[in-house]
Subunit: 225 residues, 2 copies
């Protein structure tokens, strides 16, 4: 039914904030790849509704739950919530996320009439904030720069982008690189330690500028690999 | 003799810090493209020696000067000095750089036994620091992520990377995009305002991590353009 790598066999992926564009787009692609997916949301009802849509669209195994339920259900847990609620959400799920790989894709950005800009984060980055709040989990940063529009578009059969995967534990970054590769066209590239996550999160502001100038849904490829 | 765009016809490009790997690599490519190039260095003798090497290697018009002389000679002035001396150098050349487009490619990075990491810059980025110190110049950020090894290697006939060009003045970023395109393989892509330069400078730390992991000289391409 799928060509999942051995590292992901039997694993469930939960997506917290799975009813927003980025989370929904990632969930759709993971489900299409044959991974069991649990959509998490503050509202279990909204999660269930999005899950039903994605199950119908992909033929995959997608269910919904509130965020704590999704955090409990996932072997890998993707955090795709808005930056505003990031710290509070993550701190409240420390027990559920213990021992797990947590994939943070949150971009702390502000917006004004000149476009997007990077916000300062006390811990350095959203990923480092998550790691500080989840000392018993392994946080990996990934999927920051992937276009939600491309992920959600069923006509896009290959998403033309690399994903920079950031983390301090090789086993976890390798696993998340495998997760990246379940999305057609996407390549997971190790991009450094968590302390270098800020600029990858912030680069999304530049891609928003690119998208405005060129009317694109830009991604990033790393050359010479 | 060359296919320079009209915007660069008759223009001289000076490269401050042109005896270091990044500056030398850019100077070599600009000279090969047919642009008159002036190498700047603290030492006029070392600048002249590097200029003679590059002139011989490229058949181009390359001369050397001390940094103030090079700043005076250039219509476009590229700043490719180490971060440590950046502020002092730039501040000391405010008169020479008045009215000019200044292309800052400096990456404020630190290094320890875990590799490279981004340094905090009071003004936000090296490019913003330069703009703060040069209120009568137009600062554009560019060439942050281009491999000096690739630029300097005469066997590399096409440098497989985009250059994100950052700035607040459209005419200046357009001109620097044209400058990027004089290097075979390189495409200049508008990447946002100067306030979003930090993460592009800092991304070089990630590319250093990539290079260590994959034994590469990585660059970055923007997709969907």
């Amino acid at each position: 039914m799928s060509n999942l790598p051995e590292s992901l066999a039997g694993k469930t992926v939960s997506v917290l904030g799975g009813t927003g564009p980025q989370g929904r787009g990632l969930a759709r692609r993971f489900a299409a790849a044959g991974l069991p997916v649990v959509i998490g949301s503050r509202s279990a009802e909204r999660a269930a509704a999005t899950a039903a849509e994605l199950a119908a669209a992909t033929g995959g195994d997608v269910t919904g739950a509130d965020n704590p339920g999704a955090a409990t259900a996932g072997d890998l847990v993707v955090v795709a919530v808005p930056w505003e609620g990031h710290g509070e959400l993550v701190a409240g799920l420390a027990a559920e996320l213990t021992g797990k790989v947590v994939v943070d894709c949150v971009n702390p950005l502000g917006f004004d009439n000149q476009g997007a800009f990077a916000l300062a984060v006390e811990e350095g980055s959203a990923a480092q904030q998550a790691q500080a709040l989840l000392p018993a989990s392994t946080v990996v940063g990934a999927f920051h720069n992937v276009s939600a529009v491309k992920l959600e578009d069923p006509e896009v059969t290959s998403v033309d982008t690399d994903v920079l995967v950031l983390g301090d534990v090789r086993e976890a970054t390798d696993l998340v690189q495998d997760l990246c590769a379940t999305i057609p066209g996407v390549r997971g590239v190790y991009g450094g330690r968590l302390r270098n996550a800020h600029q990858v999160e912030a680069l999304t502001a530049n891609l928003i500028s690119v998208n405005r100038r060129y009317r694109s849904h830009a991604g990033v490829r790393v050359t010479d690999l």
